[in-house]
Symmetry: C2
Subunit: 217 residues, 2 copies
DNA sequence: GTGCAATTGTGAAACAGTTCACAAACTGAG
DNA sequence: CTCAGTTTGTGAACTGTTTCACAATTGCAC
């Protein structure tokens, strides 16, 4: 039975993985899938799959498994991707520019509606079909366009100032690519992504001598 | 005392955070820092900081704290970023292209030496100072240039084929941005990054009604 | 129908990660 | 040299997550 409880980040992350596997399964014509198969595809134990899903309800049929189409829709609902979201990007440098053109976002219903920069040479120009606005216009434009999520891709030094504006505009979800710590009020959800840290993770594993790889299941 | 043990991903991730805080502290002229201060800067408990560091040795002085410069260097050594790494990027689309120009990599000693694509219009051209090679040349060129890490930024459909080549070339660390599951042999370290999943995480938090935000410390 | 095989949903157990709490070790003042 | 004040390093306790194991259900064959 469904219980309201704190759902862990790892569970949410895995829901996204299940969603992708289910989408693939649906495409290849599967009607149902069991936790064993879904687990195999995502390198997880069947128990993990069942436990994750059980936090949100009971969607399977004993002896048979889960209905692919239905479960996929249910997860979309849980993740809030059964709808579209209005997203803005601040900072049209390397990363920001890449994200504007990133097809996967469109596909999942994340629509990039606005892009901002502080470089006069970029402001007013079209970038992959998006007009780049002056970051000075950030707050009013976010409000006016009903933006719900903002991706911050500016240098570390200017990130906090941008985030403050974004918060003031009433946006409650921010994804930052700035390699710095950011302060946001309690009610705003912030995630920070750092590509360099990902490479450092690789480097740690190559560097040894600390760490031993655990046995695979 | 230093104990060889499986180090958790979270600890490794936090080491990267400490490294950044320490670099900032060094720049601002601090000689020493205590776990309380370091924890405050990264929104972690002092105990967490001390525990993380204790996995690798004992670097502090009781009553005083940690020597900033020394600890920073030590963490660099642990993470393997006290040296340079030769990195190649496969796929010069939105993401790949952004990463080629990403300054933070250079700064941390990750040098992008090669870039590959399968688009004849891109092959042979310079992209932000890097010559784009034909992906058909992948294996020999990785070998010849002593590439130690590869970033895979190709569409989901071609990712496994690329990864197989990369593995055959003897590369032991791969960072993938392809939204798909990849198989690699036991001895190869693979991390998969997926921007869309990050946005789905935001979306989950906005969507409710599942989840209740936990109290902040 | 009945029975067999399959698979879920879920408490309980095991494991992993975090925080506590305190002895040990150091600094600096007097 | 001693003492008060700090802060580390680390077992132990705690908290959270994953895995186990099994009753409860269902599908399907006959």
């Amino acid at each position: 039975m469904y219980k309201s409880k704190r759902i862990s980040d790892s569970t949410i992350h895995r829901l996204s993985l299940y969603y992708r596997s289910l989408a693939a399964l649906e495409k290849s014509g599967h009607q149902t899938v069991c936790s064993k198969e879904l687990g195999k595809r995502e390198k997880l134990t069947p128990a993990q799959v069942r436990k994750d899903l059980s936090f949100f309800g009971s969607f399977g049929t004993r002896g048979l498994g889960y209905p692919v189409r239905e479960l996929k829709d249910k997860i979309a609902e849980i993740l809030g991707i059964n709808r579209t979201w209005n997203v803005a990007i601040v900072g049209v440098g390397n990363i920001g520019s890449a994200l504007i053109g990133y097809k996967e976002f469109q596909k999942q219903g994340f629509h990039i509606r606005l892009a901002f920069d502080n470089d006069q040479r970029k402001i007013g120009s079209l970038h992959k079909g998006i007009l780049i606005s002056d970051v000075k216009e950030l707050k009013p434009l976010l409000r006016k366009n009903g933006i719900q999520m903002v991706i911050v891709a500016v240098p570390a030094g200017s990130a906090q100032a941008v985030v403050d504006e974004v918060v003031e505009a009433g946006v409650k979800a921010i994804l930052s690519f700035a390699p710095t710590n950011l302060k946001v009020p309690e009610e705003v959800f912030l995630r920070t992504e750092n590509m360099a840290i990902e490479l450092e993770h690789l480097s740690f594993h190559l560097a040894k001598p600390y760490y031993r790889r655990p046995a695979r299941p």
